[in-house]
Amino acid sequence: MASIQGTILDFRRLEELAGGDTALHRLDARAKVLSTLAYLLAVVSFDRYALTALFPFFLYPVAILSLGGLPAGYFARKVALILPFALAVGMLNPLFDREVMVRLGPIGVTGGWISCGSIVVRAALTVSAALVLVGVTGFPEICRALERLGAPQAFTVQLLFLYRYIFVLTEVGGRSSRARELRSFGGKGLGIRSYGSLVGHLLLRTWMRAERIHMAMRARGFTGEFHTTAQSRFGIRELLFLLCWSTLFAVLRLRNVPQFLGALVTGPPG
């Protein structure tokens, strides 16, 4: 991670977006979590050589982006940051899979290149779906949805606690790290010795913070549950949302829409 401060800012931004108040934001989180899962399953279930058939699936993140009033450029940048990693993994495919699959005039395209492209497209689709889910739902709501879908309470409480203190501790950690960098010279003092005591101190402070939180919790009668004021329920709108998207995903998975569209333009193949 290049800059700790930058990472925190980025993190904050995504959280702030989730505070929006569109119809999508108001939808019960369970509907959004489940339709995202249906989406991911549909995308990853494609054959490794599927490339164009995946394209219609961009519809989902794009639709959510626009319906949720999220800034498309911001999400596009975040997705673009991931793509080099996907490409790095996919780049090995052309080395091992050299059979020519498709001929476009004189150019033979090997299976490896097609599956490499497929990996990159898959990465873009799955990453954008996850980011958009957070942008339109918010992490605490996702945790509550998981709990209402049957995740153990100890785990969801852990998720919420973690989320509450990430901002606090990353900022403390970022400050310590910057202080050490400012005091080091020519790479001196950045080794494992100073690291051990720096992170050790951070750990001890964290530990004492946890003890304070525990006492505060006890004083307020915490029973292991986070309460919310707004109680959403899984109503007809949620059901419709989930059903419509799942049906669309099923259709897109089973019928190769781009091929159909292509055939309309070029005439039936063969």
Binding site: R48, L104, V127, G150, F155, F161, G196
Partner: protein
């Protein structure tokens, strides 16, 4: 070494989700039984600490590069295996959602690779065995390095197995292993040294923190645990079988035959046995497949339907076999997901009744 959604098949993803959910449920019940409510905020805050610590680098002498903590082993040393597993899993959930590290479907794999191995295997069976009750500095260092290396090697191997079983990447198993294991040997040594540095510091400053985990009360034996272990074993078994189906031996065989006989335009024109088999398959298929009825040209879904495009017969044949496995993969994935939530629902009900 986060596993990514883009490399995953639904069958492998679903099976690993089942395994990880089972482990989360098991660890949750364990943590609840410990009845130490100090641990609730401690786990959360230490998860957040891990986040912060992962951002702080230290320079590695002689290489010019820098390393940072993974932290699975450190959390296990501080919190004990079960609480540590939950904390690592929660960190991975946040990473998947906010930083797109891995992905949501790959979460099952990542929780298993980065949580299960260091916290529930390397810590109890390697670190504790070497470190003993009251270890000195040298002993802590050796134990941490060996345990970190062991945990990361297992995790890296799991990544390779999951990727190969998914069959999206065409990287062959030996090449992938030869790539992953040495890299993670180096990462493991760095991780172990960093862990040892922090543990040694804590041991000097607040030895009581480390002692508390060693002396943590053992949860009483319970039939519930056996049920969960059985569930886990079943998930593994299902995972193995499903993955085997997903990557498909017959499929791979056909592939290698196509490759061995060479060129692109290899002919499978004999009308005999293959056609009969295909007809049989069509008649008896559990999920009669839409694509058998299409013309070969339309059946292959790769690339746009441009004119002058030729697709080899071998490929078409392969596709016919593969589409069957992907559909069954989806069904398999859905079934395992349904099972996960059913299990979660039952567990929740159980814990309410108790």
């Amino acid at each position: 070494m986060h596993m990514a959604d883009a490399l995953l098949s639904p069958a492998v993803g679903g099976a690993m989700w089942a395994a990880s959910s089972g482990t989360i449920a098991y660890c949750s019940s364990k943590v609840r039984k410990e009845l130490d409510d100090r641990k609730v905020p401690l786990m959360g805050v230490l998860g957040a600490f891990l986040f912060a610590a992962q951002m702080i680098n230290f320079s590695i002498p002689g290489t010019g590069s820098s390393g940072h903590l993974g932290g699975g082993l450190l959390l296990a040393i501080l919190l004990g295996p079960h609480a540590a597993f939950l904390a690592i899993a929660s960190v991975l959930v946040v990473q998947a959602l906010f930083f797109a590290d891995g992905g949501l479907l790959a979460l099952g794999c990542n929780v298993f690779n980065l949580g299960f191995f260091p916290a529930l295997v390397a810590y109890p069976f390697v670190y504790r065995k070497i470190a003993g009750e009251r270890p000195g500095h040298a002993r802590v260092t050796v134990a941490a390095v060996v345990a970190a290396v062991a945990g990361l090697q297992m995790g890296a191997l799991a990544v390779v197995l999951q990727t190969v079983a998914s069959g999206i990447s065409s990287l062959p198993f030996p090449a992938f292993v030869a790539l992953m294991q040495p890299i993670h040997l180096a990462i493991g040594i760095v991780e172990g040294l960093a862990t040892a540095a922090i543990v040694s510091f804590v041991r000097k400053a607040r030895p009581d923190i480390l002692q508390a985990t060693v002396e943590a009360p053992k949860g009483g034996r319970h039939p519930f645990r056996n049920v969960l272990l059985a569930f886990l074993a079943a998930a593994f078994l299902a995972g193995g079988i499903l993955s085997w189906f997903a990557s498909g031996n017959p499929d791979g065989l056909e592939w290698s035959i196509a490759k061995a006989t060479g060129k692109t335009g290899i002919a499978w024109r004999e009308p005999g046995i293959h056609r009969t088999l295909a007809a049989l398959q069509e008649r008896f298929a559990f999920l009669p497949d839409y694509s058998f009825r299409k013309s070969p040209e339309r059946r292959s879904e790769s690339a746009g339907a441009g004119p002058g495009r030729q697709v080899s017969d071998a490929r078409n044949r392969e596709e016919g076999g593969r589409i069957g496995t992907t559909v069954s993969g989806v069904i398999g994935g859905l079934i395992s997901l349904a099972l996960v939530f059913l299990a979660g629902f039952l567990l929740k009900k159980r814990s309410r009744d108790a």
